[in-house]
Symmetry: C2
Subunit: 348 residues, 2 copies
DNA sequence: TTGAAAGCGCTAACAA
DNA sequence: TTGTTAGCGCTTTCAA
């Protein structure tokens, strides 16, 4: 249980002053020291097992080399790749990250952002903030740099990185349209989350652009992005009076839940009803039927946001990209087939 | 961009001394202050939006209220629930966690544990350390409390929380035995990881206990706990001369990969070959055939380890549980069926 | 019960 | 090029 080695200890051992030791150990010090002195000090530091106390240095410099990462829930498959993407950029630069899970609860978000600021994080990466801002304006007032992922803050100068969700929904709807579908239902995501709202809007807009009748495109709105809500919304759609030959779900989990309900209702996928997802979760590869979906770049979103935050920290005066929209792509698999028009008529 | 409010600011505003302010704001201060003074100070602090600077208080008290969590990889489905379990215990007590991903690489582990100690974490929760200790003895020398999860450190006093893996393997092997299987192959996990080694050992021991012929129980050892290695090992087993009617895989991913290879080789699961997993990943529910597996308690393991660490931090003198073994249970689903003896004979 | 003062370990402006 | 000194914001011992 050795006590920790401090600069003072090294100073005592080498005969130099603490400030000299500090400078010798500072990799990007502007001040030039005699090569030999630096060597002596570094060797002593190594031998004694010195580790810089970042708490002390953070207090002095006001930089903790720690950033805060705010996510809804790490057990949601979307976020681990984002976290690793962030880490892949920040870690080589010497930053560590404190991760907090908000569960999309405003009170939790407020409390947890306090947890981060109390610890003096140098900046915050905020993945999936709520649609009504709970904590970001407060952070800006404190002068803490913030970059959001997954969603932009409207009418604000906060830089953001998003996936091109509008394009994704549009591509998917056109894909179904080209396969011959004209009656396409949508299971929308929670409207309290930007992803849910944006995708629904894009769905409506594209329906209009394609000249699809609004009544032929029924919509069920989910409360959460999960299987259960997918099941519930699919049942709601089946119970409705509008017939449909395809379901475009706002994410993969909703799609999987919907497929489950369809199967239980005796509707085969994709023979009777086509179903599509959004996100391209890794686990989809093993699930039958293999889901047609939109691939978004989780890892890359984390990287991009981290790079922006980094440049805000290192070069505060420089211009930065305030808006980054990552391209998405469609992954056509087995859950889409042309509609069976005979059946539709019968049903309608 | 207000500057942060400090104790000094509150002292100036209220007319009291900083030390008085500090005491008034310290919830578990032993020192008694006049009720009215406390109220005045607290009100001023609230009004001014004071947040304690934990960097400064950490420097003074040597307690950062931050703990380090070391995991192999957050994108591995096992770990998010562990992380949330940890958080569920530590967060209410005011602790934040810095999470690092080692990717099971010793050099990374060493570097990242430095990242944690440099930041003065009060303790470390180490999930899945390597079999040969890379960082734990160093932490103990520095007097940093450590609890390991998933694996124990042999011949050491470090408290650990593990799942009862031996029992899991034994239950599963007996389950297959009772179904009539006598030629059971094992796809073992990486032997550099304790989970891989322990499960293999338990497999061998239980085979012996059941009186199964060693030659009837071929073993393929994987390099990683993933689908690809499951595929490769299954192919290796199929190419081998030993016939088998079941594969007991060391985890779910290996099992899923194996099923893929079996299908492609024209062997139906479970009709021709039964396959079992370990861990009970949530995504299994949607994958066909539904895998028979062992359910372990990820979330609860995180909670238990965090509770132990907490008591080490708060009551260093008290006795703590050095060994916690969480029970596992078998989840019988559809990937196990009685062997078709005719086929085995033909093949053997 | 409150105030004064020291100091945690480090960095950086200033001096030599 | 190196040393001196002050101080980041907080806690805590000692004194009043």
């Amino acid at each position: 249980m050795n006590k920790r080695v401090t600069l003072k200890d090294i100073a005592r051992a080498t005969g130099f002053h603490v400030s000299t030791v500090s400078r010798a150990l500072d990799l990007n010090s502007r001040i030039t020291l005699t090569e030999d002195v630096v060597r002596q000090i570094r060797e002593a530091a190594d031998a004694m097992g010195y580790r810089r106390n970042r708490v002390a240095s953070g207090l002095r410099t006001n930089r903790t080399m720690t950033i805060g990462v705010v996510i809804p829930d790490i057990t949601n498959d979307l976020f681990p790749p984002i976290v690793r993407g962030i880490e892949s950029v920040l870690e080589p630069e010497g930053y560590a990250s404190i991760i907090v899970n908000t569960d999309n609860l405003p009170e939790r978000e407020i409390r947890l952002v306090d947890v981060l600021t109390e610890r003096g994080v140098d900046g915050i990466l905020h993945a999936a903030p709520l649609r009504t801002d709970t904590s970001i304006s407060g952070l800006l007032r404190q002068g803490i740099p913030v970059v959001t992922l997954n969603r932009r803050i409207e009418g604000s100068t906060v830089p953001y990185v998003v996936n091109d969700e509008r394009a994704g929904i549009e591509m998917m709807l056109r894909h179904l349209h080209e396969a011959g579908h004209r009656r396409i239902a949508h299971i929308a995501g929670p409207q309290a989350l930007s992803t849910g709202a944006v995708r629904l809007e894009a769905f409506r807009d594209t329906c209009a652009a394609l000249g699809l009748d609004e009544k032929a495109c029924p919509i069920a709105v989910s409360e959460r992005f999960d299987d259960d809500e997918g099941r519930r919304c699919a049942a709601e759609l089946l119970d409705g009076k509008a017939a449909f030959t395809a379901i475009l779900a706002a994410n993969d989990r909703l799609a999987l839940g919907a497929i489950d309900t369809l199967k239980k209702a005796g509707r085969a996928v994709p023979t009777d009803v086509s179903v599509t997802g959004f996100n391209d979760l890794p686990s989809l590869q093993l699930i039958e039927p293999k889901l047609t979906t939109i691939r978004i770049q989780h890892f890359e979103a984390g990287r991009a946001a981290a790079r922006i935050l980094l440049s805000m920290l290192l070069h505060p005066e420089e211009e930065i990209a305030t808006e980054t929209v990552l391209p998405v792509e469609i992954v056509a698999r087995e859950s889409v087939a042309p509609p069976d028009n005979r059946k539709v008529k019968k049903q309608a």
